[in-house]
């Protein structure tokens, strides 16, 4: 309610300035659809041609991704050339669904938000494509891998470019499918296949949320396109309805972005090849939930309760991921926990309302760069260490893998939020925004601000731990299977260059975008202009506090993992450590709360099926057979018996007729 009043009194805060964009035609828009079509066509070609494309398939994949990036860039430049008020373009592709009351056009919406994603996805995606050419060189199924990557890029672009929730859902499912296929890329390994299935199932839970949300929208708005639904939600539906829609959208976001309580799949998803982890499970797909929340901002603003839940979920996940990250020894799982935690930041920011949207997306972009860079670095380390992932078996790699070391360091400093690396500009802004009292509620500012602040400290600790255990300290390498020493080596140029590019982004992108509020200004057509509000503590104090906790975390990690000897066998640790190693018992909880009751339910359903349904059916058949056996006795074959039956029937019939008549 209060938010509504606020929106009424402050038109400038109204989030969606231009819900129905200008109709795009001509110029760059005449071929803008290629941005989705190119990777999709490439995926189709690679999948349909099969082995015939083995020799050049990966380059086609790179080419398609690059092409998409070029088209996206052209569209971006086109939009940049417009005035800020006319930067939303709707590209109508044609009538898609015309069923009774529902009329839906398929269309792409090019606005600053979607274009940001387009560029992020295609740029990082292209780099990771290039990286994968070398990373997957020895895999016989490299072509299939690129087909899936292209499919993912196409689906992700469709997701962010869609101009309606239905089309968004298509992309949403598409990325889910690509994620499933890529996590289980080495599906001959049973745990990997199980991990893929787990991710798929957890994502389906979220998808149900999106479906229900769409159903509610259709019931109350009669439409599913952004233009109609997001223009003025409060005018069409009550706050309760909007809260329900918001919570369902949040459920969807939780599933896709691995937020509490649907976070359990992300750690296992590291079973996929490392480029997949970098692209899908760090930079792009897992941020789709944030995109969804920001995109549906209008709904959340009309439903403050849902918004509060969003913030709470973000805060919980933020701490959750950070704690888990502290205990993981698997470098990729530690990074995955970090991803979860960072997305927790974004969701928290997105839940703060217009004040946080831009920072959520900002952090999303910088995170996409530095986390992808770190994942690629982790892949490079694994590449040089015979696919070893246990950080306790690393150590002292800085001397052997210089490029990897430096690029990883850039990413590390960025995620820590050390100025002037890019993470500083995005994450500190989120922390600052968390300290801004929402609707004048001081307690919220203090609670969420503190959580974000503490999270930053823990982040500093576990990321430093990861960095030091891998690159610093003494070497703890294992011998190879044949007994020879391991010879860690730098990766080929095809792998290092993408890392370098991403590292450059990690260093400078934040500053570049933050200067003069470029990025927030760019997003204003979507997120709305926000009047500056003061946090409960002065901004300078907050920056100082943040840097302090970061440095404390860093120093702690330095003391424990760089200067001290890191035990090769993990020590028993405290109860919290042990809990964090098993993801704070999330799998156990899921098993106890969902899986086992589910199995009991299915078992009892199977039993019920056997006993009741089958029993009923079989009972009917037995009864029929028995009745038939009885009736068969009437069938004597004697004509006279039949005649007697006929005559008896006639008599009875006549008696009945007479009785009725008289």
């Amino acid at each position: 309610m209060h938010s509504l009043a606020l929106a009424a009194t402050l038109p400038a805060v109204s989030p969606v300035v231009n819900p129905a964009g200008a109709t795009a035609s001509g110029g760059v828009w005449s071929f803008a659809w290629l941005v989705v079509a190119l990777p999709l066509a490439s995926a189709a070609v690679l999948l349909l041609l099969g082995r015939r494309a083995d020799r050049w398939g990966h380059w086609l994949g790179v080419l398609a991704s690059t092409g998409a990036f070029v088209v996206g860039l052209l569209a971006m430049l086109e939009v940049l050339g417009q005035a800020a008020s006319s930067r939303v373009w709707d590209l109508r592709l044609g009538t898609w669904i015309d069923a009774g009351a529902l009329h839906l056009d398929a269309g792409l919406r090019f606005d600053p938000l979607s274009l940001t994603f387009v560029l992020l996805v295609t740029f990082v995606g292209t780099l990771i494509h290039v990286y994968s050419v070398a990373y997957m060189e020895h895999d016989t199924d490299r072509r299939r891998f690129f087909a899936y990557l292209n499919l993912f890029v196409a689906a992700m672009l469709l997701l962010v470019l869609a101009d309606s929730f239905v089309l968004l859902f298509v992309g949403w499912e598409g990325v889910g499918l690509a994620s499933y296929l890529l996590i289980g890329f080495w599906n001959h390994n049973t745990p990997y296949a199980v991990a893929a299935k787990k991710a798929f199932v957890a994502n389906r839970v979220g998808d149900v949320g999106l479906l229900v949300a769409m159903g509610l929208m259709f019931a109350h708005f009669g439409a599913l396109d952004f233009g109609t639904v997001l223009a003025d939600p409060a005018a069409h539906a009550s706050e309760g309805t909007l809260t329900a829609i918001g919570l369902m959208l949040l459920l969807a976001a939780c599933g896709k972005s691995a937020q509490f309580p649907l976070q359990s799949w992300l750690g296992d998803a590291m079973a996929g090849p490392t480029p997949v982890s970098a692209l899908i499970h760090a930079a792009t797909m897992v941020t789709a939930g944030v995109y969804l929340i920001v995109r549906s901002g209008a709904i959340f603003e009309a439903a403050p309760s849902a918004q509060l839940v969003v913030v709470v979920v973000g805060a919980i996940t933020l701490l959750f991921g950070a704690i888990v990250g502290c205990a993981k020894d698997d470098i990729k799982k530690a990074l995955a926990a970090s991803t979860m935690s960072q997305i927790g930041y974004m969701v928290l920011a997105a839940g703060l309302g217009p004040v946080g949207y831009a920072f959520a997306i900002f952090h999303l972009v910088t995170h996409g760069f530095f986390k992808a860079g770190m994942f690629l670095g982790a892949g490079s380390v694994m590449h040089g260490m015979d696919d070893q992932v246990d950080m306790r078996r690393f150590g002292g790699l800085a001397r052997y893998m210089k490029v990897t070391w430096i690029t990883f360091m850039m990413g590390w400093l960025a995620i820590l939020g050390i100025p002037p690396f890019s993470g500083f500009f995005s994450k500190d802004k989120i922390i600052e925004a968390a300290f801004i009292p929402t609707d004048g509620a001081q307690w919220r500012a203090w609670v969420f601000g503190t959580v974000a602040l503490v999270g930053a400290g823990i982040t500093a600790f576990y990321m430093s731990r990861l960095f030091f255990m891998t690159f610093e300290g003494e070497r703890r390498w294992t011998t190879r299977k044949d007994g020879s020493e391991q010879h860690p080596h730098e990766s080929p140029a095809l792998m290092t260059w993408p890392m370098i590019v991403l590292a450059v982004g990690s260093v400078g992108l934040g500053l570049f975008l933050a200067l003069g509020n470029r990025f927030t200004g760019w997003l204003e057509p979507v997120t709305g202009h926000v009047e500056h509000e003061e946090p409960v503590l002065p901004a300078g104090v907050l920056i100082a506090l943040t840097l302090t906790v970061v440095v404390v975390g860093l120093v702690l990690a330095w003391r424990r993992y760089a200067t001290a000897t890191v035990p090769v066998v993990p020590p028993l640790g405290t109860a919290l450590t042990r809990a964090a190693r098993v993801d704070l018992y999330q799998d156990a909880v899921n098993d106890a709360v969902l899986v086992e009751p589910g199995q009991h339910l299915t078992r009892s359903l199977v039993y019920a099926d056997h006993a009741v349904v089958d029993g009923g059916v079989k009972g009917v058949t037995h009864a029929t057979v028995g009745l038939g056996a009885l009736l068969r006795r009437l069938q004597t074959g004697y004509v006279r018996t039949y005649a007697a039956t006929m005559l008896g029937g006639l008599v009875v019939l006549l008696v009945v007729v007479l009785a009725v008549q008289s």
Binding site: Q635, T636, G637, Y638, V639, R640, A643, L647
Partner: protein, 99 residues
Amino acid sequence: MTLTHYLVLSGILFSIGAAAVLLRRNAIIAFMGVELMLNATNLCLVTFSRMHGELTGQVLAFFVMVVAAAEVVVGLAIIVAIFRTRRSASIDDVNLLKS
């Protein structure tokens, strides 16, 4: 006496014919029972015709006779055919309908 007496007579004859069909095992006798039933009906029709002063009943009885003639021809042919193969004119011997 009234015309109803004819109807009662017709009913009696019809019932006896029906009983003959049910009770006699000799196919020919059972068949004669059928004929008796048809005749009883004809008597009914003729009586009705007289009641209503309308010849249609008699025409109908005429058609019944013709159909009965056709029926007898086929029926007796069947009986003869059965007798040839089974040396029996008992309807109870022809019970292959059972299985």
